[in-house]
């Protein structure tokens, strides 16, 4: 099959298992974000794809061929490191042309290709500058151009934008995504920023404790998280303990949610509901009674913190759709059944 496939990849360092039987199949040309908290094994997984670490067991297949035993320098990939790893003794142009120089390309070919790439990253005329004279964003682009110089089959980036300030980072996310779509190159990005993953990825792979917990398109990860960890890690969520009442309905904080039945064979569960799906209304009926403890009015959105049954539930709305509430007020929480995700607890 075409694309990259990880089969039962495990990596242990002594007693510590960094990556635990990871299985993943990525079609050609997809943009994949490896997402997870620090220490979850996402960087180790990327380094194994690059060949900088050897898996303890398992195989990595590229277009059907096992590349596990192939050393890094023969894998035909481009990688951008967190530190960027630009060569300090080379100029911008020489940095970009380095992979061509290694392969014995002529001086003219090197120049031609590096100029082409400099145009692609909007840095024409920077060829002769020393790397140290560039700004953070410019260095970032040079590192990307260098990784793409040989039109590799795989494009790997390890937290590439973490050194940039927030505004530049957002702009680079869009730029990176557009570049990837134009080139149609299979791309893996390691990030701990879920917003970054949502912006760029075709496929988000959420990892925790060395395991792949869920691999799905970003919106599916957001709407249908596979477990409580994923739900909590991606965006803000309210995680509530749930039980089944005698009619088999899901009951949260002592109140059954209409039209939401507990899956077969489960008596206890967690319910995840996004803050924007929680509606506030009058007390009574099917609503869960609670007390407003705090209102955070951010202008664009209003976050309302409601305490009910010892839990704090957050509801987010725009000023238009929310009647004004104040701290101390009694409100009813409505959890629409189609917005609730029932998860194993």
């Amino acid at each position: 099959m075409s694309g990259l496939s990880l089969q039962n990849i495990t990596k242990s360092f002594g007693n510590f298992t960094a990556v635990d039987t990871a299985n993943l199949s990525v079609p050609h040309g997809k943009f994949v974000c490896l997402l997870g908290p620090s220490g979850c094994g996402k960087t180790t997984l990327l380094r194994m794809i690059a060949g900088l670490e050897d898996p303890t067991s398992g195989q990595i297949l590229l277009d059907g061929t096992d590349i596990t035993p192939v050393p890094t320098h023969k894998r035909n990939l481009g990688m951008v490191f967190q530190s960027l790893a630009l060569f300090p003794h080379l100029s911008v142009g020489d940095n970009i042309a380095y992979p061509l120089r290694i392969r014995g390309a002529s001086r003219e070919d090197q120049k031609k290709r590096s100029d082409e790439l400099l145009k692609l990253i909007h840095l024409q005329g920077f060829s002769d500058r020393p790397v140290a004279k560039l700004s953070g964003g410019q260095r970032q682009r040079v590192a990307i151009a260098r990784a793409l110089a040989l039109s590799p089959k795989l494009f790997l980036l390890d937290e590439p934008l973490s050194a940039l300030d927030a505004k530049l980072r957002e702009a680079m996310q869009v730029e990176l995504r557009q570049l990837q779509q134009r080139l149609g190159i299979t791309t893996f990005v390691v990030t701990h920023d879920q917003r970054e993953a949502m912006t760029m990825a075709d496929l988000v792979v959420v990892m925790g404790n060395g395991k792949i917990l869920q691999a799905a398109p970003p919106i599916e990860i957001y709407r249908k998280p596979a477990d409580a960890f994923v739900a909590d890690f991606i965006g803000m969520t309210n995680l509530l303990d749930a039980t089944a009442d005698r009619l088999g309905r899901v009951s949260v904080l002592g109140q059954a949610i209409p039209n939401l039945t507990m899956p077969e064979g489960m008596t206890k569960a967690s319910v995840s509901i996004r803050p924007e799906d929680v509606h506030l209304g009058p007390v009574g009926g099917d609503a869960i009674a609670g007390t407003v403890t705090f209102v955070r009015d951010l202008g664009g959105t209003i976050e309302t913190f409601v305490e009910a049954g010892g839990k704090t539930i957050v509801a987010v709305a725009t000023p238009r759709e929310r009647p004004e509430v104040v701290a101390g007020q009694q409100v009813g929480l409505i959890l629409p059944a189609d917005a609730c995700v029932v998860l194993k607890s």
Partner: protein, 284 residues
């Protein structure tokens, strides 16, 4: 940050101590030596104050030119050998676990505790015919019969490299430990084999460190005067040996001083030249 120029005497006070040390231990003795180099030798006694160029004139002969040339050549060779051996060694050392690194560094430091005399006699035993390493080669069938490897130029070189190597490693170690390991990984992902990546990336990135280390070992080797005597023939004696000989055995202080001044000037010139060449290459 804007720095204000020091105004009062108190602002200069941090400089007093280093200044004093420099005067007591460098300016005074070195000026004395320069002065003595112009004095007249008194064959019956020590020397008489004077201002003559005889000592320098005597130095300008083919014999001393050869000795000077040999001394500089030997020091350069020691410096190059040390860096060529120590650089890859130290690089590989920094890739080992921390514990292994510590053990190696402690062993290297213990070599520093050996005096030049002990090193000299240890190597003279190792290179001897009766008890030397050639006996081992005979035992494993590499050689027919044991031979003496000294006195010879190679014996001198080996001894001096052995003596300077721990210093070289200790000077290179901090720079190599700080080197960003992802530079090398980046080169590998871009298609360079590990050896190629090392030559293309690690060596040029640490060029300044390498030049500084070369200069340090060069100066260090220039002052060596015991090893050439223990391990070499008189033709392998360096200028430092001759200076010792003149100063201590011939009691010709003015001439020894003149040679020492000349040696200092020559090595300063060489170091300056190295730095100048380095800067020009940097500018490119």
């Amino acid at each position: 940050m804007k720095r204000e120029a020091p105004k009062s005497l108190a602002d200069y006070s941090p400089l007093f101590f280093p200044g004093l040390m420099l005067i007591v231990f460098f300016v005074v003795p070195f000026s004395t030596m320069i002065a003595v180099s112009f004095f007249q030798r008194d064959p019956s006694g020590f020397y008489t104050p004077d201002f003559v160029f005889d000592n320098y004139a005597r130095f300008l002969s083919l014999f001393f030119a050869k000795v000077l040339g040999f001394s500089l050549m030997l020091a350069v060779m020691v410096a190059i050998c040390c860096v060529v051996i120590a650089f890859p060694f130290t690089y590989l050392l920094t890739k080992r676990p921390r514990k292994v690194q510590t053990i190696w560094l402690v062993c290297l430091l213990s070599v520093l505790s050996l005096s030049e005399v002990i090193i000299g006699f240890a190597w003279s035993t190792l290179f001897s015919r009766t008890a030397g390493i050639t006996n081992l080669f005979v035992a494993i069938g590499l050689m027919k019969e044991p031979v003496a490897l000294l006195p010879s130029f190679w014996a001198v070189l080996t001894g001096m490299v052995y003596q300077a190597l721990p210093y070289t490693i200790l000077v290179l170690y901090p720079a190599l430990v700080r080197l960003d390991p992802t530079l090398l990984e980046a080169a590998r992902t871009l298609g360079a084999s590990p050896v190629r990546a090392f030559m293309n990336v690690v060596v040029p990135a640490l060029r300044n460190t390498i030049v500084a280390t070369l200069i340090m070992v060069f100066v260090f080797a220039l002052g060596s005067y015991l090893l050439p005597q223990i391990l070499g023939r008189p033709s392998h004696w360096t200028l430092s040996v001759l200076i010792t000989d003149q100063a201590i055995y011939q009691s010709n202080m003015p001439f020894a001083a003149a040679m020492a001044v000349f040696l200092v000037l020559m090595s300063l010139a060489l170091v300056g030249l190295t730095l100048l060449v380095g800067r020009r290459e940097n500018a490119l």
